[in-house]
């Protein structure tokens, strides 16, 4: 048989393995060097008075602030409670928003009439700066969790909706025709052709929208809350504590990065069938 040449991954030659691991180490070393340079310059400038640490903080002060929060708790209570509150708001907003986005995106993507009717409203709603809705939510839903979740949902919904809709529209006509000819009902076409095709688009939108859910939660807390990292930032701001603002920011960044890596993990798992794209060495 002439076509028995299947891409069964051959183990790479030892030299190539060595080269790629060498490169990886070099990249990590350079990354650490960049970080050290930036933080070092910042610290140096703050200490020599080139920038005023009162306004711009300094790395050692930020570290100390985080340590203090961890050891003695914040003015709002233990640090982990604040992180947990914000995380819960974010996850709820993200989950509900993403689910609604997928459901509506697929429904409108599959139904021409619905899409034509709602097209104009989606455009209008999408052009409104939705963060402003936070004020309404805080007034209507109170200082507790629901107002933050609602803001997160609104922020996440449109991103996921847009991508799910596009993903459905971009599904290969050939595949849909093939499924129909093989005997698939419209529902089966949706589940076994449309959804898997749109999955790549939907997962891509989840990366962005988790950040949006976090923004929703934090902004909601800014506008009025009893607990959470957003309130912690607002409190630090009120006390002219620049280190406190940066410390809270750093904590948010850690949360966002952890979530990002979880989403990437899920993505790799769900899209295993995809051919590897591009060379492994990046760029």
């Amino acid at each position: 048989m002439t076509e028995a040449r299947v891409a069964e991954a051959k183990p790479a030659a030892p030299a190539a393995v060595r080269r790629s691991s060498h490169r990886r180490r070099l990249v990590v070393a350079l990354q650490v060097a960049v970080l050290a340079l930036v933080l070092g310059t910042w610290e140096l400038c703050a200490r020599t008075g080139i920038v005023d640490p009162f306004f711009f903080g300094k790395p050692s002060g930020i570290v100390q602030q985080i340590r203090e929060w961890m050891a003695e708790g914040t003015s709002l209570g233990p640090l982990w409670v604040q992180v947990l509150v914000t995380l819960e708001e974010t996850l709820l907003g993200f989950g509900i928003g993403a689910l609604l986005g997928v459901v509506f995106g697929v429904a409108l993507g599959r139904n021409r009439l619905l899409a034509d009717v709602f097209d104009i409203y989606v455009k209008i709603a999408n052009s409104i700066p939705r963060v402003v809705l936070g004020s309404i939510f805080v007034v209507a839903l109170g200082l507790g969790m629901p107002s933050k979740v609602a803001l997160g949902v609104v922020m996440v919904f449109f991103v996921v909706f847009g991508n799910a809709f596009q993903g459905v529209r971009e599904a290969d006509r050939n595949l849909i025709a093939n499924a129909r000819l093989l005997g698939a009902s419209p529902r089966q076409v949706t589940w076994s052709v449309i959804m898997p095709s749109a999955l790549g688009w939907i997962l891509a939108s989840l990366h962005v929208s988790f950040g949006f859910a976090l923004v929703g939660a934090v902004v909601g807390e800014f506008l009025g809350a009893r607990q959470g990292i957003g309130l912690l930032i607002a409190t630090a701001q009120g006390a002219f504590n620049a280190n406190g603002v940066f410390a809270a920011m750093f904590i948010l960044a850690v949360v966002a990065l952890a979530a990002e890596s979880l989403i990437t993990l899920a993505e790799n798992r769900l899209l295993k069938w995809r051919p590897n794209q591009g060379p492994e060495t990046g760029f």
């Binding site: 299947v6 025709a177 093939n178 093989l182 009902s185 069938w273």
Partner: protein
Amino acid sequence: MAEGAPSIELRRATRSFTTPTGARLTAIRDVDLTVRAGEFCAVVGPTGCGKSTTLSLISGLAPPSSGEVFVLGKPVIGVDRRVGFVFQNDALFPWRSVLDNVAAGPIFRGMPQKEALKRAADWVRRVGLSRFERHHPHQLSGGMRKRVALAQTMINEPSILLMDEPFSALDVQTRVLMQDELLQLWSTARASVVFVTHDLEEAIALADRVVVMTAGPATVKSTYAIDLPRPRVTSEIRFEPRFVELSRLIWNDLREEVMVSHRRAAGAAA
């Protein structure tokens, strides 16, 4: 083979549609075509003349603008379960393994998963891909993907098999192998086949009858019975004197249409 009702019948079938620019385009006009039960019918014509449109009418993917289309004695309304379709380009589900791709049809039609997978495994074996059951389509060569597509269609045991230039993307050697494999599958299944191709030799090597279509809007120009004996070996039949004779005869007919289509393309480009 039972004579009687034809399995496919097109009567003055016309299909026209509006292009995105607003122009009215007629893909096929007044096509009359009859395919007997168990007959292998090849349709040749210049590239882009509307051969594929003919297949979409038979499959029920598209309705005729005027005229009538009958499949197994009944007018076509929507997709018919007894019709199988092999596409020109890959239409395998890239997220499913070979086995799951082949099992798709029976599962769509309500067969229990376990039974469907068992039958699929049998079909994967029949097209010689047992070792690759767990592979995904992107891990296979073009010829192997085509085999999966054949198994995916044949597992539904269609009474009518429509093929839209199925082997045109393959290299020459693989194509010949696939042609033989197709003839073998067809000889056991005995479905009526409409095989669209722009390759005249392929048409003659495979078919009982070759239908020549005109340059678009396509209509049936002429029909030739291919009286070469079966079973055929497509790689060797090309050297038979009768094959050469038929090729020359049909090519004379086809050439005019190819020239017309070519002149038009050149005119459009200029």
